[in-house]
Amino acid sequence: MKRVSWPCSAPGGNGEEVGLAAGPADATRRVLIVPALFEEANRTRRLLAQTMRAAAAQGVATVLPELPGCGESLAPLDRQSLASWRQAMAFAAEHFAATHLLAVRGGALVAPADLPGWRLAPTAGALRSLLRARTIAAREAGRSETAAELLVAGQERGLELAGYKLGPTLIADLEQAALPDAPDQIELTVGELGGEALWLRSEPGEDAHLALALAAHLADAVG
C-alpha cells in the first residue's frame, strides 16, 4: 500500500490530490475505488484497505483517491461541488489508467460513468441523512430547525452538517442528486456478498469476509 498523488485542479487545492494505491504497477486490471461520502468514507476505510490488499494478492491494482476537501486532501471542503469531485475522479481514472471502477455508496454520484465495474450499495441520500441528524439533534436540545429551512439557508451561505462545512453549491448539488445511469456498473448489495453494512454503523469494526468477496469481484473478468 503506498501513498499516491495525481494532477488535479480542485478549487482551492494546490494542483494535486492524494490517495492510496495497492497492487502491481504493471497490472492489466486497474480499479479506481470512488469512496463513500462524509462519515461513511471513514466507516468504510478499513473495509476498502482490506479489499485493496486482497485484490493486490490476486494481481489487481487499485487506487483509492480522497475526494477533494476530504481526508488528506489540501483543498477546502467548502469550495467543492459534485462537479469538482466528478472531475477529480475523472482525472484520477485517467492518471492511473483505470480499467474498472468500484463506487462505494454516494461515491456513485461522482464516479466516471463510462468505466465498467461495480457499485456497492449506491445511494443518493447523503444530504438527507446529514440534515436529519442535525434536525434530530436540535430537537433533543430543545431547538426547532427544519430540513427545509436549513436547505434554504445552506444554498445561500453554506452549512455545517455533522462537522462537515459544505458550500452552497455542494448543498444544492446534493439536494438534487440522483444516481446516474451506468449500465456497465453492476450493483452489489451486502445481502448478495454475504457481508455487513459497515457504513451504516457508528461502530463499524471490520468485515474480512466482505473485503474478500469484494476483492473477488474486482479480480473477476467483467466488462
Partner: protein, 97 residues
C-alpha cells in the same frame, strides 16, 4: 422474518417487519437473534446507546431507500422512534398509502 419466538403481531401480510429488523441489524451491528427478539415494546431511541441522532438519521434514510417511501421532517418525533412497535406501525402506515 417471523419465527417461533416472534409474537403474533409480527405475522402481518407484508415484509415490513422483516425489512425493518434487517435494517436495524445493519445499523446497530446486532446478531439476527437479537433483532428477532425485538417486540412491540422494545425501546429504540433513548434506550439503545448505539442509536444516537446520527444513527437515527441513517436509519430513516435507509428505511426510505429500501422500502421506497419518503419520510417528512414533521413526521419524525420521539414517539415514533421510541419503540420497535411504534416504528413498525409508522412504516406500515406509510407503505399502505
Amino acid at each position: 422474518m417471523p419465527n417461533d419466538a416472534a409474537p403474533q403481531w409480527t405475522l402481518a401480510d407484508d415484509d415490513s417487519d422483516a425489512q425493518l429488523r434487517a435494517i436495524l441489524r445493519d445499523i446497530l451491528g446486532l446478531k439476527p437473534a437479537q433483532t428477532a427478539a425485538f417486540d412491540v415494546d422494545s425501546g429504540l431511541f433513548g434506550a439503545l446507546p448505539e442509536l444516537d441522532s446520527m444513527a437515527v438519521a441513517g436509519l430513516l434514510t435507509e428505511i426510505e431507500d429500501r422500502l421506497d417511501i419518503v419520510i417528512d421532517d414533521e413526521e419524525v418525533d420521539g414517539e415514533m422512534l421510541e419503540t420497535y412497535g411504534a416504528l413498525l406501525a409508522f412504516v406500515r402506515a406509510k407503505r399502505a398509502r
